[in-house]
Chain length 407, copies 2
DNA sequence: ACCTCTTTGTTCAGAACTAAACAAAGAATA
DNA sequence: TATTCTTTGTTTAGTTCTGAACAAAGAGGT
């Protein structure tokens, strides 16, 4: 009895799965190099995973100069994760496979300022989870606009939603009985970019979101920079203009108070471009149809953003800057001011920094949150802490639902 | 024959030595916790190191609630490192013991713009090395104002000294036949702060130097943030003022062009506070003796620095900001503008960030460079790469100068 | 004085991993 | 076509490290 393969180190096992999920099929040799272990060990680990049905051997074999590689791929039934994007007035859910593909999604109204918001959110999430597919659910990732304490206990501070020290993570864990990983939404986006987007090719990059607020996710050597209190990336409150407009944070002249959505709308109304009750869509429409004052508003915003980002680039030296968020819908107008200001504010040796602009949807934010769960196996026990361990456990348990199945 | 203890993993061995050097004596249990290995292994490793004469057991035993700890200390003869600070017009050397104490120091004139600067520097360094003590020399750390390529090969770009792609590291290695680690001087200071200064208590902090230039060293989770090209921390070129004064980088309105030493002196002359041929010392003197215009110049500089640093704090969320450099001699005048500007530009939750001002000497910069060598064993093979391995080797060889000494 | 609790440090079996040799399978080359 | 080279993947032997049990040495209470 007890011929159970004595579960190898879970970290390595799940790192293999996560790697395959994020980067697609790979050979044993590739994996050994990527995860920095010996080929010998990789043979062992993959043998186990194959016999457990988590991996499968693909016939495919490229062959380039030497023995052709036998590619390994994930069994798509190995697991899935749920991602949640929480904002002030609604919640978006996605259910993604272990390979990052969206299986299912939904969006529900939600009032973050209601006194029952925690129970409301739990209920909505519980309903979405209940409608799930057959693959085992590894965990839930939640992206929120605000800062989250380091250990991903899920203690949330959010000025945007009026939350102070809300125990979002622990509450959801208890209620749902699932691993829950809570993270700032821009950081979640940065992780998604690292796994599935432009960031796959870069270890050091900056994700900047423009929209209601201005935020940044900072990726350094492949991991998110959180700072001492989980509050890194609050670039929306970089002081830009002395005695500038009042910001939601109480200060004057923050970046966000000048180029945030509210500020642009206010300018549009003030300069008579749009009506007193029109919003950002109208302003963008005006610019699209050639209104000079409207394009100027966006271009000026681009100018301010360009100068400020140049400063951040000098501070952090990223390989690439990725601009995201609802605001990118009007990027063609922003860029008019952004490009010259950004380039001319950089020191010569840094002037070649790439800038990529992407238009992601609401769903993408939630996908970023799901990526938190799928990415946890990567972080060496540190970041996601307890919840990360739980995700790993579920990923491994999956092979041996009960006790050891005899030979 | 061959009863040689079969040298255990060098990384762990030298990590123990480096840890003891940086933090003073510690018990085996302390070390095991700090270096994240099992107590069992620590027993093994320290047994070897003790028998090799690199460590010694201290009688001292605090005892607090349980069995009293047997402290371990370094044999001060285990090794030493040389630190070099290179600037445009001179070079400073220090010779420090493995515990970070300065044994010997020197300063020599040097012309970074001479065509023979590489040979000159080699010669000066060779002479200083020759005058060394008895402890084995582990390596040489060099701090330069400029950016150094990632692998610490020592390829230097420095606008301040007019160097482009100077192979400083490889040249010195070849000529001196010693491990050489080259690093940006502010980063070196940050490492020194981490080992010996305020940074011992913090994993996330910012070192800001004010003087000729303005620079920053960024410590994240205990390691220096270098960025993609080793150019992180160039905060001197953050754009501050549209159409501001011309900067050495060719742009206008960089932070450095407004509050760098040259800018302050120019203001002082322009406003008639000091003569056309007086320098920063005269300006500081004027402020010290109460000249209102002089104090205003420093205070305005403090104001600009405060606002800009607030932006960096929002971006990185450090626990503490440490201000250093020659400029701190006049800090009492800077702070008049700095404090209110800094605090009022921070979002409420960040307003408590600590600021420490230290006045370090030329020698401290060189000590920071030496710290590079003593700190290498910490970085897990990554940063200092080849040179780090060499330092480790020398630290280990030291116990077995030749082949295995019989029983 | 005696028991319990806490912390340090050691020993030993066994797990996790690596290094090195080798087998497999094709490309490049003569 | 045979030879060499390159890369993948496996096997085996051995090293590094951990976990768990235990001994040592004191503090704190009863």
């Amino acid at each position: 009895m007890a011929n159970r393969p004595q579960a190898r180190t879970d970290v390595n096992r799940s790192a293999i799965l996560a790697r395959l999920g994020a980067h697609g099929p790979a050979s044993r040799a590739d994996l050994a190099r990527a995860l920095n272990v010996s080929p010998a060990l990789m043979t062992q680990l993959t043998k186990d995973l194959l016999s457990e049905g988590l991996l499968r051997e693909l016939e495919h074999s490229p062959s380039q100069g030497g023995r052709p590689a036998r590619m390994l791929g994930l069994m798509s039934t190995a697991g899935r994760a749920i991602g949640v994007k929480v904002v002030a007035d609604h919640v978006a859910f996605v259910d993604v496979g272990i390979d990052g593909t969206v299986v299912r999604s939904a969006s529900e109204p939600f009032d973050a300022s209601a006194s029952t918001f925690l129970a409301d959110l739990t209920g909505l999430l519980r309903r979405f989870v209940a409608g799930g597919g057959s693959a085992p659910l590894l965990g839930v990732g939640v992206g929120v606009p605000g800062s989250v304490d380091r250990q991903a206990n899920g203690l949330v501070d959010s000025t945007q939603m009026g939350w102070r020290q809300v125990p979002l993570g622990s509450t959801l864990q208890r209620e749902l009985n699932l691993p829950v990983i809570v993270e700032n939404n821009v950081n979640a986006l940065a992780i998604a970019e690292r796994l599935y987007g432009v960031g796959r090719l870069h270890e050091n990059f900056l994700v900047v979101t423009i929209g209601t607020g201005i935020g940044a996710g900072i990726m350094v050597d492949g991991v998110v920079l959180r700072g001492s209190g989980g509050g890194a990336g609050e670039v929306g409150h970089i002081p830009v203009e002395v005695d500038g407009p009042l910001c939601t944070c109480g200060n004057h002249g923050c970046l966000e108070s000048i180029i945030g959505e509210a500020a642009l709308v206010r300018l549009g109304r003030g300069r008579g471009v749009i009506g007193e009750h029109s919003g950002i869509a109208a302003l963008r429409g005006a610019a699209d149809s050639g209104n000079a004052e409207a394009t100027r508003i966006f271009s000026e915003a681009g100018h301010v953003l360009g100068r400020t980002l140049a400063g951040i680039v000098h501070t952090l030296d990223p390989e690439i800057v990725i601009v995201l968020g609802e605001g990118t819908a009007a990027w063609s107008h922003w860029s008019f001011g952004f490009e010259p200001a950004f380039r001319s504010s950089l020191i010569p040796s840094r002037r070649g920094v790439a800038v990529a602009v992407e238009t992601w949807q609401d769903e993408s934010w939630a996908q970023g949150a799901a990526a938190l769960v799928l990415a946890t196996p990567f972080d060496a026990e540190d970041m996601a802490g307890d919840q990360g361990r739980l995700v790993r456990e579920r990923l491994v348990e999956q092979a041996f639902p009960q006790a050891g199945a005899g030979a």
